[in-house]
């Protein structure tokens, strides 16, 4: 039962899935670091990304142009993010600060219910798949669906580009500055609300990208964003809010723990292992593995 091959396969499968989870976490943590709010409807943007991917591949572009479809789907979710931020999130920031958290939470919770029901109402409860023409590949001793390998590569690339943009561009500088001090950015002559808009767009686009990438792997249906959101939040806590390397490392850690827990302890409790890790981390390091420790007073 404990063959080396099985251990190696379990490890590879854990790492691959972990990187994909990390993409979701990155979106959550990014929006939080700029806007200091949690977007509970993140999974619904994942869901929209996956539906866009399905529609583009099945009806417009065909399965060979899946990569183009991914770019368009991500862009589509980005635009939707801009609209949502403009219509729903921005008004919150004109309110006194002590109310923002609570109202942002309620509005995004309502948005979650709304988008999910709309999807069920419009597309029906059935699953879809955009399909994939990529062949099964061998990663070491582990056979992998081509779509999953592609998603893994895309996710790594997206993480890299995201990091580079944040690190080396002027806009990245503005975003980082905004994450340090919203007031500071404003006095430097940057419109913090427009920074917000773009940040929200990018954050949900990361979720949309995850949805588009995973559409052929985990299928397309109204509640498909739920489990990825759950993983995303777990990773955010484990890795520390606001930390990009934290999201990546915690993602891989979570993937590994779930894989090994399911394979070698009891698969029925697969989803509990992550939660236990979250609770343990919060007790031992309340700001996550890579989170900043705030100075009080």
């Amino acid at each position: 039962m404990f063959s080396t091959e099985l251990v190696a396969q379990t490890a590879i499968s854990g790492v691959m899935i972990g990187v994909l989870y990390a993409l979701m976490a990155l979106g959550i943590t990014f929006i939080y670091s700029i806007m200091r709010m949690i977007n509970w409807a993140m999974g619904e943007f994942y869901m929209i990304g996956s539906y866009l991917q399905f529609m583009l591949v099945a009806w417009v572009l065909g399965p060979d142009l899946w990569w183009l479809a991914i770019l368009i789907s991500t862009a589509g979710v980005f635009l939707l993010g801009l609209v949502v931020q403009w219509g729903l999130i921005k008004p919150i920031f004109k309110k006194p600060p002590e109310m923002r958290d609570d109202y942002a939470t309620v509005v995004t919770l309502a948005l979650l219910l709304f988008l999910r029901s709309i999807a069920t109402g419009l597309a029906g409860p059935n699953q879809f798949t955009p399909g994939s023409t990529l062949p099964i590949m061998m990663i070491g001793p582990m056979p992998m669906a081509g779509a999953r390998v592609a998603a893994f590569v895309f996710a790594l690339a997206a993480l890299g580009i995201f990091w580079a943009v944040l690190r080396y561009t002027w806009y990245g500088l503005a975003l980082r500055a905004a994450s340090q001090s919203r007031v500071g950015v404003q006095t430097a002559g940057i419109d913090v609300l427009s920074v917000d808009r773009v940040a929200f767009g990018i954050g949900v686009a990361l979720a949309g990208l995850a949805g588009a990438l995973l559409a052929p792997v985990f299928l397309v249906f109204p509640t498909n964003g739920m489990i990825t959101t759950v993983k995303g939040f777990e990773i955010v806590v484990i890795g520390g809010l606001g930390s990009i390397p934290g999201a990546l490392i915690a993602g891989i850690l979570l993937g590994l723990i779930e894989s090994f827990g399911a394979a070698f302890i009891d698969s029925a409790y697969q989803n509990i292992y992550g939660f236990l890790l979250v609770l343990a981390i919060l007790v031992l390091r309340p700001t996550g593995l890579f989170g900043e420790r705030g100075r009080e007073a």
Partner: protein, 242 residues
């Protein structure tokens, strides 16, 4: 005279900054001590170390001879060491009266009561009675400073640590606050440690000052004495007193 508040060789480091470097000082019962020094000299760090906001890396703090360095903030407050904050902190969504009541209830003396009488007299003293039912976040800066000070005086403490109590408020309110400090000092023989940049007020209130520079205590003495020290002039006063 007995020593009311004593800091002994306090050290505190933030990453690469030695914010507090072997800081020692002793304030006697009933004394009003000023703490002066340039920005970044470690004055607020000292206040935070003494009142338990930060835990010192090493050193000790004694209140009436007992060590409080391991105590939580609220325990320190209950032992009678009351502080104010440089950036005025109030409970914004509570009304003026509720702020005073909370302050009273938090350190309610054993012979208790609901604090009604104390709140009444504090409203008079601070002249905030017309605003008693106004939320604290709607007050002006001066009113906020007054209220913060009033909260501190709701239950008489033995020792007060005030961080920049006069910054950015108009002269009339400054005078009210000075009156309150002197009144409490006289009536309860309360001890004060006041961090301030306002040399005229320091001169009026504090027979003795402590000068801090770069995280260290640079000198103790009367304002006139320390003002003559060359290192103090070079590092700080030379500019400030002009």
């Amino acid at each position: 005279m007995a020593v009311a508040l004593e800091a002994i060789a306090l050290n505190k480091r933030f990453n690469n900054l030695q914010a507090s470097n072997n800081v020692s000082l002793a304030v006697e019962q009933g004394e009003i001590r000023g703490v002066i020094g340039p920005n970044g000299a470690g004055k607020t760090t000292l206040v935070n170390l003494v009142t338990g906001v930060y835990k010192a890396d090493s050193g000790d703090v004694k209140l009436a001879g007992e060590s409080i360095v391991r105590c939580d903030m609220h325990e320190i407050a209950r032992r009678g060491l009351v502080r104010s904050f440089q950036v005025t902190r109030l409970f914004g969504s509570l009304t003026v009266a509720e702020n005073l009541r909370t302050a009273f209830l938090a350190r309610r003396p054993t012979d208790g009561g609901d604090g009604g009488a104390q709140i009444d007299s504090m409203l008079d003293l601070t002249k905030l009675r017309p605003l008693a039912n106004t939320q604290a976040k709607k007050l002006s800066g001066g009113q906020r400073a007054l209220l913060q000070m009033g909260c501190g005086f709701m239950v008489p403490g033995s020792c007060y640590v005030l961080d920049e109590p006069f910054s950015g408020i108009n002269p009339v309110i400054k005078d009210s606050i000075i009156e309150m400090i002197l009144d409490v000092n006289r009536r309860h023989n309360a001890t004060f440690l006041i961090v301030s940049h306002e040399m005229t007020i320091i001169r009026r209130l504090c027979p003795k000052v402590t000068v801090m520079m770069e995280g260290k205590v640079a000198a103790h003495g009367s304002l006139d004495e320390v003002a003559r020290l060359p290192e103090v002039i070079a590092g700080y006063l030379g500019k400030a007193l002009e």
